[in-house]
């Protein structure tokens, strides 16, 4: 019965979306379609869990997760502050700033670029789950070690993007600066940094999801007795899967919002870039 309901929900949701997408693209449909898609997914999930009688300690139904989220609002908020605000955000800011500064230095000295980028590639391939315990050992249990993990995670993607961006000026744009006898710093501020913005935002968007994951994963390897990663890892042990999923939902919402915020900022800053302009 429930399974049938799930299939119906899927078909109905999809059909509705096809119909909506076929209509003229307004702001509202652009927002409605993904929301409907998500709702359909949730319905199907609920139906399947109930239909197959899956134990709540393996996969709880969305209704139970929502109920739990309602009950444990305080815990979720406290964990959110610890992980997202203290850990992820501070690490994100430090990591991205450091990467941009490094990129400028690396870009200035070609020797460094050729030496650092290949080695950096290798270092970036080190899996977080290996690095996190080490950084927790070095920087202690509190948010500082989470920030450190985030710094390590976001640094390299950000560096690569910025270096790439700083090189993304056309020869003509640079020559123009030369004919004005503009110095290195003037060229940097007036030409190369603005031109690099699309790449920098690419990096910032990528880093926003990495930051959150990094902070949460780092908490698996040591944390004070609060934080989203802490809650997830300990609640699994206690089979409170509804709480685990509530935290995951918070993480996904926070991550998507973070990403979306960056995308909006990108739109505001790089409005001039062809990818941000509609039509021609």
């Amino acid at each position: 019965m429930w399974i049938l309901l799930g299939i119906t929900a899927w078909i109905a949701g999809w059909a509705l979306n096809v119909w909506l997408a076929g209509r003229s693209a307004s702001k509202i449909t652009a927002l409605m379609v993904p929301i409907l898609f998500g709702l359909t997914l949730v319905l199907v999930w609920e139906a399947l869990v109930r239909g197959f009688g899956i134990s709540p300690v393996i996969l709880p139904p969305p209704s139970a997760i929502a109920a739990r989220a309602g009950e444990s609002g305080m815990i979720l908020w406290e964990d959110f502050v610890q992980t997202v605000i203290k850990g992820a955000l501070s690490g994100y800011v430090m990591g991205c700033a450091a990467a941009i500064v490094t990129a400028i230095v690396v870009d200035r000295f070609d020797f460094l670029r050729r030496g650092l980028l290949p080695v950096g590639n290798f270092v970036a391939a080190l899996p977080v789950i290996g690095i996190a315990p080490i950084l927790v050992m070095w920087f202690g249990f509190d948010w500082q070690s989470k920030a450190a993990v985030v710094v390590v995670m976001v640094f390299f993607p950000m560096l690569v993007n910025t270096v790439e961006g700083l090189r993304d000026t056309s020869a003509m744009q640079r020559d123009l600066m030369r004919t004005y006898a503009a110095g290195y710093w003037t060229t940097l501020v007036k030409l190369r940094l603005p031109a690099a913005m699309p790449f920098i935002f690419n990096g910032l968007k990528l880093a926003s999801t990495l930051a959150l994951i990094g902070a949460i994963v780092a908490e698996f390897f040591g944390s004070p007795i609060k934080g989203m990663g802490f809650r997830i890892s300990t609640s699994v042990g206690l089979l409170q899967l509804d709480l685990v999923w509530a935290e995951i939902v918070v993480a996904a919402i926070a991550g998507s919002a973070f990403y979306g915020g960056m995308a909006l900022l990108e739109r505001a800053v790089t409005f001039w870039h062809p990818s941000q302009r509609k039509g021609r």
Partner: protein, 267 residues
Amino acid sequence: MTDPKPEIARHPVIEASGLNLTFDTNDGPVHALRDVNLKVDKGDFVSFIGPSGCGKTTFLRVMADLEQPTSGSVLVNGVTPEVARKARAYGYVFQAAGLYPWRTIGGNIRLPLEIMGYDKAAQAERVRKVLELVELSGFEKKYPWQLSGGMQQRASIARALAFEADILLMDEPFGALDEIVRDHLNEQLLALWARTQKTICFVTHSIPEAVFLSTKIVVMSPRPGRITDVIESPLPKERPLEIRDTPEFLEIAHRVREGLREGHAYD
């Protein structure tokens, strides 16, 4: 410039002697410039014409210190191009408009003024003036992509005119424009040149344009890039559009065309 000038009394504005420039590429060297000699005096309007790849752009770039000659020398106002560049002697209009997309038209024109440290009021005044000159008043707040190709070209010309450089280097500035707009801008440029006594080096593919504008026409030829002819124009400084139907005009045009044809493989 029909009246003879005392050549020795002052430095020529540009003096190239025995200039060679070779690019090293994977399939061997490309001789972009071979033994180029040229003298440009103050107030000259020099056009460069020649088949694609004959080194016109390269020559302009050498003058502007954007490219280093392999041998020979260029002197600008008696000093090296580098010194001249640092003294901000040039206004350069590139082959494509090359406006910065993140700045408005006004912002683009203001850019060199900011770099050169003009104060705010002077910046605004100059921007207003050059925009008027190229007939773009009212577009100051627009972004480059909101303008048609021709308008972008004009904006980039305005940018080069905004700060008063004595030497204007223009690389096919009117390439993307239709005949009427082109005629109009030709007249404007001539008027500006007559008024300000700038020295202008101008690259074009159009023979009538070259003849109409110049006091001196430099015909170039490729492989290796070299100067094959330098034609001093006998036309008066005052040039209405109708001058293009005069026999003198057609005569010079003919000579340029012949020079050009030699540079090509056909016939």
